[in-house]
Amino acid sequence: EPEVTQTPSHQVTQMGQEVILRCVPISNHLYFYWYRQILGQKVEFLVSFYNNEISEKSEIFDDQFSVERPDGSNFTLKIRSTKLEDSAMYFCASRRDSVTEAFFGQGTRLTVV
């Protein structure tokens, strides 16, 4: 069964360093998302991506964040200069179209020290 895969599963980084979180969405899906979940808290929307551009982004998704679909299969989230408060689980999701359900990866646990 097709699934969304995320790598790495866990990343520890020093404050101020750049990190790239990687996702491989389901192959025939067209809509891509990043969400984050701080431990024990709600799932927060970061950004949606469709037709090779950002559709919408939340107030969390500031200039330190960027997304890219570099090669037609990967979908990456870059944090340029990590802060302690960026520590969270980051989930990638993809959907076939704008109505159907989204499928989620298992997440990347980012720890900023």
């Binding site: 809509y31 998302y33 969400y35 709600k42 799932v43 927060e44 929307f45 949606s48 469709y50 559709s55 919408e56 689980m89 989930f91 999701a93 959907r95 704008s98 109505v99 159907t100 359900e101 989204a102 499928f103 989620f104 990866g105 298992q106 997440g107 646990r109």
Partner: protein
Amino acid sequence: TQLLEQSPQFLSIQEGENLTVYCNSSSVFSSLQWYRQEPGEGPVLLVTVVTGGEVKKLKRLTFQFGDARKDSSLHITAAQPGDTGLYLCAGALRNNNDMRFGAGTRLTVKP
């Protein structure tokens, strides 16, 4: 404010009891999903509802989409400890491509 309001936030019940959790909004959704999340893992899709008034059953779980497509409920019959987890609703808005989550209901079923 949350686009999707889930209630209750926490629910602790004994094995065998029935329960209902709610997902409400003032917005109309083209579809609404229910997910279950275990600690340290990604949300796992339980069901998608699309049509107003739709009812879907998944074993002991019954999902209903409101007639106006603004709200949904999840009813669990004879809850079991394996039902313990965070239940999330997520909606796809009619006027854009995005999906938003409610804050979730954290269910604990005690043996």
